[in-house]
């Protein structure tokens, strides 16, 4: 299964959600996600001079075993997708995946009981994300 991890990070770089789908140690993904934030910041800085910020940020960086992709919403919420290095998923597939993931995020944050910018603990969201991830790219 090519998707190894999914993360949602808030506007203050606060972690909102992290789901791993790999037998690898979870801490590894924390590091990967953390490193991604720096790359995202660079990409966002580069574009900020009047240019429209594209939500899909593309490949952030490759590691030995993984490829890391990023996505940022207009409210500066960041989404990170970690897939295995051997995945043959195209940019378009990944962009499509992020759009779907974004939709799930919108649903869960529309819950009046969800406190904005807090950790997402909804079991419904977790299982929907798992289903989406299992579908693959």
């Amino acid at each position: 299964m090519s998707i190894a991890a999914l993360a949602v990070i808030g506007r203050q770089n606060n972690p909102l959600f992290l789901q791993t789908f790999s037998s690898d140690v979870g801490l590894k993904f924390h590091f990967i996600v953390h490193a991604s934030l720096d790359v995202i910041e660079e990409k966002v800085k580069k574009k900020s001079k009047g240019e429209k910020l594209e939500k899909y940020l593309g490949l952030l960086y490759p590691t030995e075993d993984f490829k890391v992709y990023g996505y940022i919403t207009n409210t500066l919420v960041k989404m990170i997708l970690v897939i295995s290095e051997s995945s043959t998923a195209k940019d378009l597939d990944i962009k499509y995946f992020f759009d779907k993931f974004h939709q799930l995020f919108l649903k869960v944050t529309s819950n009046p009981f969800y406190e904005t910018n807090s950790k997402i603990e909804s079991p419904r969201f977790a299982s929907a994300v798992e289903s989406l991830a299992l579908k693959g790219l």
Partner: protein, 191 residues
């Protein structure tokens, strides 16, 4: 027979639906959600919140009934069954955007159940564990029905029997007719 009557009600519902102004349903859903969450912050017990929601609904129902009767063009209902059908098929359609159905109609006992498969009030809502067994999220609907029917001389008691927020597949409200009111008894806002 009954099926032609239901078809007529469906036509009334569709005609009424086409006539009225509509707003974005998401705004409606989020507004109601914000009210519930605020009430939970303002009141100490969940029971108090349930009561407030019912009261709010009651005050809305007192006003809604005139709008409903005027827009739908419907007259006085002949019996409880007709009342039930009108609420489900025309009332729900008009105000929630989705028609409901009537179950367990019992004219003798003076009771019926209203079933809604789609309920915009609860879109996106997930109840936190601490409210799952106590909060009656849909209680405003009970109040609306109670207030509306009181204005047409029926004193009823409504309770939510099923709710998708608690794991059921539908929203279901039981309505029991307590008594017919005579026109001398004044009806008014509850605070």
């Amino acid at each position: 027979g009954m099926s032609r009557y239901n078809t007529n009600l469906q036509q009334v519902a569709n005609n009424t639906w086409n006539k009225i102004d509509k707003i974005n349903t998401e705004l409606f859903t989020l507004t109601y959600g914000a009210i519930v969450v605020q009430l939970l912050k303002d009141f100490d017990s969940v029971d108090d919140v349930n009561n407030q929601l019912e009261k709010m609904g009651y005050n809305i129902g007192l006003r809604l009934i005139d709008e409903f009767l005027a827009r739908s063009g419907l007259g006085r209902c002949r019996d409880l069954r007709e009342t039930a059908e009108v609420i489900a098929k025309v009332g729900f359609k008009m105000f929630l955007g989705f028609a409901g159905t009537v179950l367990k109609m019992n004219a003798k006992k003076g009771s019926f159940h209203l079933v809604l498969e789609d309920n915009p009030l609860i879109d996106f809502v997930e109840l936190p564990a601490q409210y799952k067994d106590t909060l009656i999220y849909n209680n405003i609907l009970c109040g609306v029905i109670r207030g509306a029917l009181e204005m047409v001389q029926m004193k009823v008691k409504c309770t939510v029997k099923k709710c998708p927020l608690k794991g059921h597949d539908v929203t279901q409200i039981k309505v029991v007719l307590i008594e017919h009111l005579t026109s001398e008894i004044p009806v008014g806002d509850e605070f």
